[in-house]
C-alpha cells in the first residue's frame, strides 16, 4: 500500500498544495485529475520516491520512502513501472530495444520468456508486429502504448501513469480502461495523473471524487480503501455516482 500523509510541495517559490493524504492499496486504481501546471507530475514523482515532499511523508509497506532505508526506496522503484507524460523519440531505437532495456531492470529474464511476453503485450496495446519499428516513427499515442507495454513487461506491482489516457486518445483510453481494470484484479496498484476523467469514464460508474488542493481524486477499485485530504471539502457533485462498470 502507498500511503501519503499530509504531503505538501513547493515549486518555484510557490506552494502547490499541502496536507494531501491518500492511501492506495492493492487492486486499486486512482486517478488524480487536475488542471495543467498544478503539480500532477510532481505528485507522481513524490509518490514514486523520486522527490522528497516539502512536508509530510510517503509510506510504502510500513516504511517511509524518504526517511527509511535507501534500499527500501530502491526496491519500491524497482517494483513499480512508470509511463511518463512525454516519451522521448530516441533516434534509432526500435520497439524491441525498449523491451530489452526493460529486461535489464529485471536481470536474468530468459530470452525466450522475454520474446514470449513481448509477443503477448504488444497486441494488448494494438501494436502487433511492431517489434522492429523505430520508436521515432511511432505516433504519440503509439509511443505511449508501447511505453505501457514496456512497463508491464516486468510485471510491476505498482503502476504510475502520467497523462496516459490523454496521450493515447479517446478510442484507446476506453480500451486501456479494460486492460487496467484487469491489472487491478491481479492485485496491482495503479495511479494515474490526468487533466480530467475521460468523458466515457465519467458517464460510467465512477465513485464521487474527493477534492484535495488542486486535485480531484478518483478511487476505482476496492471500496474499503479511503481517500481524504486536509481541509477536505465535500465531494464534488459534478461527477455523480452511477452504477455499472468503468472504462
Amino acid at each position: 500500500m502507498i500511503e501519503a500523509f499530509c504531503v505538501g510541495a513547493v515549486s518555484r517559490g510557490r506552494t502547490l498544495w499541502e496536507g494531501l493524504t491518500l492511501a492506495a492499496g492493492k487492486s486499486e486504481m486512482w486517478i488524480v485529475a487536475g488542471p495543467p501546471s498544478c503539480g500532477k507530475t510532481l505528485l507522481m514523482r513524490i509518490l514514486r520516491g523520486e522527490r522528497r515532499p516539502d512536508s509530510g511523508d510517503v509510506i510504502v509497506g510500513g516504511e517511509s520512502l524518504y526517511r527509511g532505508s535507501p534500499e527500501h526506496n530502491r526496491r519500491f522503484r524497482a517494483d513499480s513501472g512508470v509511463v511518463p507524460e512525454s516519451f522521448p523519440r530516441e533516434a534509432g531505437k526500435t520497439v524491441v530495444d525498449l523491451f530489452r532495456r526493460s529486461a535489464l531492470v529485471a536481470e536474468g529474464v530468459p530470452a525466450a520468456e522475454q520474446e514470449g511476453r513481448m509477443a503477448e503485450l504488444l497486441p494488448l496495446v494494438g501494436l502487433s508486429g511492431a517489434e522492429g519499428e523505430e520508436v521515432s516513427s511511432l505516433s504519440a499515442s503509439e509511443r505511449t502504448r508501447v511505453a505501457l507495454a514496456v512497463e508491464l513487461f516486468r510485471n510491476p506491482r505498482y503502476l504510475f501513469l502520467d497523462m496516459v489516457l490523454a496521450n493515447v486518445g479517446s478510442e484507446w483510453a476506453d480500451k486501456l480502461g479494460g486492460l487496467l481494470r484487469a491489472l487491478t484484479r491481479e492485485e496491482r496498484t495503479i495511479l494515474m495523473m490526468e487533466r480530467q476523467l475521460p468523458e466515457k469514464w465519467q458517464a460510467a460508474t465512477v465513485p464521487s471524487p474527493r477534492c484535495a488542493g488542486p486535485f480531484l481524486l478518483y478511487r476505482l477499485g476496492d471500496p474499503r480503501t479511503v481517500c481524504t485530504a486536509a481541509a477536505e471539502p465535500p465531494p464534488v457533485e459534478t461527477h455523480p455516482e452511477k452504477t455499472g462498470g468503468w472504462g
Binding site: 526493460s102 535489464l104 531492470v105
Partner: protein, 295 residues
C-alpha cells in the same frame, strides 16, 4: 539462455555501434600488439646492432685449433653471448683473400701469416658496455689471446646512440598507446551520451547508477581482454608470417618463434592486462555523460 545483464548493457542496447567500435579497437590493438611484440623481440635496434657487431679475440700464432675451439666453447656459455665461433688460421686466410683478392703472394713458402681467432656475438638484450666489458674481462687474462677487437673508443658513443634510438622507438609505442586511449575515451564518452536515456530509465526504476557503472566497466574490461587476446594472437601470427618470409624482418626484428620463450610471458601478460584495463577505465571515465553528477 538468460537475458542481457548490466555487464553487457552497451552490447544489448547499442549493438550496431558496439560492433563498429570493437572492429576499430581490434585494429588498433592489433597494431599496438604488433609494435609491442616487435619491440620485445628486437629490443629496438639491439637485435640489428648485435647482428652487425662482433667482438674478435685474435689468438696468438701457433695456438692449437683444439684450444681455440675450447675458448670459443667456454665463451659461448656466458650469459651475454649469443654465439661464439672459432676460426682456424686457414679459415682466416680464406676470408682475408675474399676481402682482399690478389694478395696471395703474402703467403710465402706456404706459411700462413694470419692467426686463428674467436668471433663473439652478443645477445640483443646484452648489447651494452657492461656486456662488452664482461666478454673482455673473460678473454683478456687468457694467455692464448693476443688482442681483443671490440670497437674501441667509438663503442660508448655508438651505444649511447643505440639507447636514444631505443628510447625513440619506445616513445613511438607510448604514442600508439596514448592514441589508443584517446580513441577509447572518445568512443566511450560518445556512447555514454547515447546511453543517457537508457541509464535514466534504469535509474528511475531503482537500479543504482554506481551499480550500472561498475558492471559496465567490468563488461568493458572483459570485452577488452578478449579483443586484446585476439589482436595479440593475430599480430603474433602476422609476425610469424613476416619473419618466415622476409630475411630483413628476421635480421631487424628476429624470428617470431622466439616469442614462445617463457621469458617474454610476463611482458605479454602485462600488455594484455593493460589492454583490458584501458577499456574499463575509459568506460568509467565516460560514465558521467550517461549519468550526470547529482542525479
Amino acid at each position: 539462455m538468460s537475458g542481457p545483464s548490466l555487464w553487457w548493457i552497451d552490447w544489448s542496447l547499442h549493438s550496431g555501434s558496439m560492433r563498429k567500435e570493437t572492429a576499430g579497437r581490434f585494429l588498433l590493438c592489433f597494431l599496438a600488439a604488433l609494435y609491442f611484440l616487435a619491440m620485445l623481440l628486437s629490443g629496438g635496434v639491439n637485435r640489428f646492432l648485435s647482428g652487425q657487431y662482433t667482438i674478435t679475440a685474435i689468438l696468438r700464432i701457433g695456438v692449437p685449433a683444439e684450444e681455440g675451439a675450447g675458448i670459443a666453447a667456454k665463451v659461448a656459455v656466458m650469459g651475454a653471448v649469443r654465439e661464439a665461433h672459432y676460426r682456424t688460421p686457414d679459415e682466416a686466410w680464406e676470408e682475408f683473400l675474399v676481402a682482399y683478392p690478389g694478395l696471395e703472394t703474402l703467403r710465402s713458402e706456404g706459411k700462413n701469416p694470419l692467426p686463428g681467432y674467436v668471433e663473439v656475438r652478443l645477445r640483443p638484450e646484452r648489447m651494452s658496455e657492461e656486456g662488452i666489458a664482461e666478454i673482455q674481462s673473460a678473454l683478456t687474462p687468457l694467455s692464448q689471446v693476443e688482442k681483443i677487437l671490440s670497437g674501441g673508443d667509438i663503442m660508448p658513443g655508438l651505444l649511447r646512440m643505440k639507447q636514444w634510438a631505443n628510447a625513440l622507438l619506445w616513445s613511438g609505442f607510448a604514442l600508439v598507446c596514448v592514441v589508443f586511449l584517446a580513441i577509447l575515451a572518445m568512443q566511450e564518452r560518445a556512447r555514454a551520451t547515447r546511453l543517457f536515456p537508457d541509464v535514466s530509465f534504469l535509474a528511475d526504476r531503482g537500479i543504482p547508477g554506481n551499480r550500472i557503472a561498475a558492471r559496465r566497466a567490468a563488461g568493458a574490461f572483459l570485452a577488452g581482454g578478449v579483443v586484446a587476446a585476439l589482436a595479440t594472437g593475430a599480430s603474433f601470427f602476422a609476425l610469424l608470417l613476416a619473419s618466415g618470409r622476409f630475411s630483413l624482418v628476421r635480421t631487424v626484428v628476429g624470428s617470431a618463434e622466439e616469442l614462445l620463450d617463457v621469458r617474454f610471458l610476463p611482458a605479454v601478460c602485462v600488455f594484455l592486462l593493460a589492454a583490458s584495463i584501458f577499456p574499463g577505465l575509459a568506460s568509467l571515465a565516460g560514465w558521467r555523460a550517461a549519468y550526470p553528477k547529482g542525479r
